[in-house]
Amino acid sequence: MKIIKLLLVLFVLAIGSAATVMYSGIVNVAADEPHSNFVYWLLEETRERSISHAAKNIKVPDLSDPELLLTGGTDYEFMCASCHLKPGQSESDMSVGLYPAPPNLAISSKTHVGHEHDDDDEAARRNFWIIKHGIKASGMPAWGKTHDDQRIWAMVAFINQLYTLTPEQYQILTAID
């Protein structure tokens, strides 16, 4: 009986302190104020676990068709480059101002900080899921609401090659004809 009472008190205390933090206004939601290391770790770990769990059964189609680079390229230029940059560009207002910051997809995923990608299929699956569903409370929209899977896979194929492109190659692939 005593133990149940104690647990109850602890429970009420926990809710109470959570509510105090919430309602006091002490939590800073400004995008120009980074999370503490602990909160950052918590959110990142939650995001990565969530994505790999949700994406694990996605079947990766053949992404080697050059035609995919053309549709994917045009879409990338018009919908993504403002946040995720392109060859020869190292920052934009969005890439600097958003928090969490959109990663620079024009450099190799091995050189951007945060996480490693195990293999190509794993990375493709992850990218497809993120593009289709977006990421809550970040600037990353869910493009699946307005684009079919085929167009999203084309962007995945394009992103696979993006870090190898020169600004001139990028211009040719992404221009509209």
Partner: protein, 96 residues
């Protein structure tokens, strides 16, 4: 604070930011319908097994069909001939 209020606190600045973000750099938000600049293609460096190279060729061929004179701007003098590539391969094979 309701989740909705919190969400709004995050989303409204995000949206406001994305609306005005490119306004400072005109080159970014003037999205003119640019054509592919095929004159900059360096065919000598192109490996025709590479999907990027193939895609670029496709794009420029499609475009040059649309307006013919564009083709003249490509620097074909630098293009490796297919035969020469095949010949090189042969050489290597008979070298040992």
């Amino acid at each position: 604070m309701k989740t909705l209020t919190k969400l709004a606190l995050v989303l409204i600045p995000t949206m406001a930011l994305s609306l005005s973000a490119t306004a400072h750099d005109p080159s970014l938000h003037v999205k003119k319908a640019e054509k592919a600049d095929c004159s900059k293609m360096d065919h000598s460096k192109m490996d025709m097994k590479n999907p990027v190279a193939i895609a670029m060729m496709k794009k420029c061929m499609k475009q040059s069909k649309a307006d013919d004179h564009k083709m003249k701007e490509m620097d074909h003098s630098k293009m490796k001939k297919i035969e020469s590539k095949a010949a090189k391969k042969d050489d290597q094979e008979h070298n040992h």
